[in-house]
Amino acid sequence: MALVTSNNYTNSALRTGDVDTYPERKVGEFIGTVVSNASVNDEYKHVVLKVHPQALKAYAGQMFHLLCPSPDGAEVWMRRPMSVYRVDRTNGQIEFLYKIEGRGTRGMALLEPGDDFNVAGPLGHGFTLDPSWKNIAVLGRGVGLATLAPLSQLAAENKVGVTAILSARNPGVVMSKKLFDELGARTMVVLDSDNSSAVENVEKILGDLIARRQADAFFTCGSNRLLKLMQRLGKKHAIPGQVAMEQIMVCGFGACYVCMRTFEVDGQKVLRRVCRDGPVFNMQEAVGW
């Protein structure tokens, strides 16, 4: 707590109205103001932050590194990387949808409107859309859907049609459906509770999309099972794909080499940094989520 609250320690972070003395920066350290931090269901919350305009450069798939408040009085030593859920340039806000899981997100859950929240970013390479794509298929599960949700914003801006298949344990924890729906995506929900989330069924849904030429590209996040399925179908039907990865992360800039994942490129296994080389990667090169 002491480090977070020390003025000397964080006063170079930019507040909303501050003049940026280093405008060349690609990444900033910002102190955002919490606008709201509401529960979505028993497990998830949605935080909205008012931030400096430099932070609004973020786009779908990019992350911020969050300096989470302590949930228990003891230090939270490292920032937590989290992909941006929505960038609201009109209102100067960024949003995160998060599952309350570990100490960082438990601390985040305590934020109240008006609180300061220190975020660094935007980090990494996000999703990209090829101009030749007319329709994309998005498949995600659990908190991975929060990462995929801003794709609908990007696709809508580029007039690309989206079919989003949202996988979840039960109807109560289906995330991001509203955001996908609002931006014109066609959404389908598959659940563990009625077995519709089984790989065979999801394969059938994707097969239909491919047959109807509604899947010029694949996007996924949040499940190894679903990644493997999309890799297999993508390879068979020559459909390009992108996957957003996560890993324990320290610096966020590519300096420390903590957040490594294995990829296979031209038959060779290589390690890449999720923070800087990703977090969005070529789906066919990913070895595991």
Binding site: L3, S6, N8, Y9, T10, N11, S12, A13, Y22, E24, R25, K26, V27, G28, E29, H65, L67, A74, E75, V76, W77, M78, R79, R103, N118, A120, Q247, I248, V250, C251, G252, F253, G254, A255, C256, Y257, V258, M260, L271, R276
Partner: protein
């Protein structure tokens, strides 16, 4: 306004703030102006391309993080051809950290790295997860002397030596490094540590052991800097737990000429620049004209040793 410049041998640093090796790369230019730093310190380079250690490479503990990266890199050729030019775009001197498992190769690497755009060779003889006859020579006085003697013979660049806090008697090792020709001592590397998860009984790091990185190191490393400074004539760079300008002041009072910063830059990516600004303000408020006035200025010569007298004069 205070003059923040310090001299490390023949090298002048515009201020005493530099990143610690391993915690930094030119890619930090995305978030801070690297031209403001005292020096740029590259990640430790080895001869061969290395993948590094198995993940997870970092775990949080009650008092900081432990990490074990394993010196990943693309090898010396790639480093000289592609990484050195990235650093050469910036003004502060470039310090290149190097490590090898054999003394002969260590010296050869130092020679090959002595190219025009490299300003300083930092011999990382203290990688905590290597053994004392294979890369972690700073665990032992004799290995330190042999290694630094061999490197000194192969390079005319300023030679900084990074010592280990895991050695029993760091003062003897510091003296051995100085006698063998070191121009500066970097004190210290990380503390060898272990975390075991109680949910699955497994070590938290893929490499089992890691180095502790934390503000908690500061009082321990400060003590080492103080002890070594009394026994050597060459400059010292203090590395361990610096998170604010007052920590820099403390290290300098103990005898350091500059500090290296790791963790604080992870916690707050703009911290290094902030600490420079804060140090300047701290000195200006006190009318300190040159930051070098602080080096070794701890007031301990007249400390009262009689507890009855000490307890009667307050603090």
């Amino acid at each position: 306004m205070v003059d923040l410049s310090v001299k490390i041998g023949d090298i002048t640093l515009q201020n005493p703030i530099q990143p610690a090796s391993g915690a930094f790369s030119w890619e930090y230019n995305d978030v801070i102006d690297l031209n403001r730093l005292g020096a740029l310190v590259a990640k430790t380079i080895c001869r061969e391309p290395r993948l590094g250690n198995p993940t997870p490479r970092m775990a949080e503990t009650e008092a900081g993080i432990i990490q074990s990266i394993g010196l990943p890199g693309k090898g010396i050729e790639y480093f000289v051809d592609h990484i050195v030019p990235e650093y050469a775009k910036f003004k502060p001197p470039l310090v290149v950290s190097v490590n090898s498992e054999t003394i002969e190769d260590f010296a050869a690497l130092a020679e090959e790295l002595s190219v025009p755009d490299v300003d300083v060779i930092e011999a990382n003889i203290s990688c905590p997860t290597r053994n004392q006859t294979g890369g972690n020579f700073a665990m032992h006085e004799d290995y330190t002397r042999d290694c630094i003697t061999a490197i000194r013979a192969k390079t005319k660049k300023p030679l900084w030596v990074k010592l280990s806090p895991n050695a029993g008697d760091i003062v003897s090792i510091a003296r051995a490094a100085e006698a063998a020709g070191a121009d500066c001592l970097v004190i210290a590397n990380t503390f060898l540590s272990l975390k075991i998860r109680t949910d699955n009984f497994r070590p938290a790091l893929g490499n089992k052991f890691g180095g502790l990185v934390s503000p908690a190191l500061k009082p321990i490393v400060l003590r080492m800097v103080y002890q070594v400074a009394k026994q050597v004539k060459i400059p010292i760079i203090g590395v361990g737990g610096v998170t604010k300008a007052e920590d820099v002041v403390e290290y300098m009072l103990a005898g350091a000429s500059a500090v290296g910063i790791g963790y604080a830059g992870f916690r707050n990516p703009t911290a290094l620049v902030q600490i420079i600004d804060d140090l300047e303000a701290w000195c200006d408020e006190r009318g300190i004209k040159k930051v070098t006035e602080l080096i070794g200025a701890v007031k301990d010569a007249d400390m009262e040793s009689d507890p009855l007298v000490a307890a009667s004069v307050g603090v």
